[in-house]
Symmetry: C3
């Protein structure tokens, strides 16, 4: 099992846990918890596959993810009151997930011979849209539109990937640099409480 | 016209009525009522076709459904104040719809040579996701995540289908047993007011 | 550059501005503004491509749209307090966008040899669903379900297109008549404050 696969599974697990916690906080029932965990973990990849036309989508072709997400969700339910102590590790896993999913998305775009700008977009969508679907299903404005430099880290990572890829550096170096950049940005952003600017409209004269 | 087709049309109609009632309760306009009726009736099948890659999706290839949904919605608008007296029949039609859509979803998965677990998932999505899209469009947390053993009946039916299919029983027997199981579970659940457990998080120390 | 292309770019721009304004009104951050502008502008076409099976979807195959939407959004942010003075031109652009997107949607259906009814539906979805996704992401019941004769104009235009197309009139004539009809309906509707009927349910006896 390669380092990449291990990180991928870690990322999927972190996304599943974040979905399960979201669902329990909103008092959804057992089925709701599983569904939200599932879509958070595989939603971004599903949208990526549908947009590019890779069907049946990838989680349909390999059941490893389903079993992993199922087990992780059961664990999250059992240990739901202990997970709060793990918030730092969760944040790290979630960030790893973001990094890995961004990389997989960019690579999917490259395989489909799409324009670099589109590849980066695809990477960001793969990384972020699981969380967007989670928030829509839970009837909230997606958190990434409001207060987190989350997508921005993914965009920066995707751009870094494309540049290094263009200079034909080794695959592992590209992977590690991209993931490291995304993780670094998120850690710095949280440490220094950076956020994106808001632009308010002055509705005078109405 | 086979029994299967008749049940399919009954199920589609029940889903359309449930969507139209939802839309009228939220005071949507005429167009909103038609759209919500339409997506409730064909949303699950559309997601199924998109995930598997069966495009153009099935309602685009056969207009019977569109005419049926249109007529049923007009009828639902005209008789909107009488439908409350029909709530029991509606519940039954809706359950038949759930059963039939689950079966069609599982079969789509089998035709695409997908793993049994994926086939069952596909069946449940086909049966339930029309209602999920209806609730999202109406700006509510999907009801199936909150208080109904609806998806669970579909999951149980899908599992039953796969087991009987594996033992190579006749097609009609498989269909009838699956549909009967789903209907039975829903009736029992409503009669005895069973619901899935909730798991609350104790946010102490925050 | 043909008249059609110019109108298409105008329509995309108007949709992007309407998305950016929506996002700023809801106090989303910079990333949120870009995403909402983007999905409003290309959401309808993306759903059209996915349903018909035209993948990778069209905005992935031509980056013109992405650069246009990006620039327009930056402009909308800079001039956000001046745009209110432009509301009439915005309304006109938005209506042009609706007309053009409806035509492109109907044509996509014809190329895929779909039934006329389905072609009209596809045109309406292409014209309207960008706004639907915008409203869902902003956590609101889509405005077109509630108070605007917006989709109805698109439906009427699509029907007009199919009839003229059936009589084999020249392409330009079909385009111009359809777009003119849609724009005319919207202008009249707004001028005379027409709206679709509501159907209320009397929940007596509950």
């Amino acid at each position: 099992m390669s380092l990449f696969t291990i990180l991928d599974l870690l990322g999927t697990s972190a996304f599943a846990i974040s979905g399960a916690l979201s669902a329990m906080n909103r008092k959804l029932d057992l089925f709701g918890i599983f569904i939200i965990a599932f879509v958070t973990a595989i939603g971004g990849g599903t949208i990526r596959d549908i947009l590019v036309g890779n069907t049946p989508v990838s989680w349909m072709q390999d059941t490893t993810n389903m079993f992993l997400i199922g087990s992780i969700t059961i664990a999250a339910i059992i240990f739901r009151n202990k997970i709060n102590y793990l918030k730092k590790s969760l944040f790290l896993f979630d960030t790893i997930g973001l990094g890995i999913c961004t990389i997989i998305g960019v690579e999917t775009g490259i395989s489909a011979s799409l324009d670099p700008i589109i590849c980066i977009t695809l990477g960001t969508m793969t990384g972020c849209f699981g969380g967007v679907i989670r928030d829509i299903l839970c009837n909230e404005i997606p958190v990434i539109f409001r207060k987190e430099i989350y997508a921005t880290a993914s965009l920066a990572g995707g751009t870094c990937f494309m540049i290094l890829y263009y200079f034909n550096l080794g695959e592992n170096l590209v992977y590690i640099s991209t993931a490291a950049l995304i993780i670094l940005i998120r850690l710095l952003v949280v440490k220094y409480k950076v956020s994106l600017p808001l632009f308010t409209i002055h509705n005078k004269g109405h």
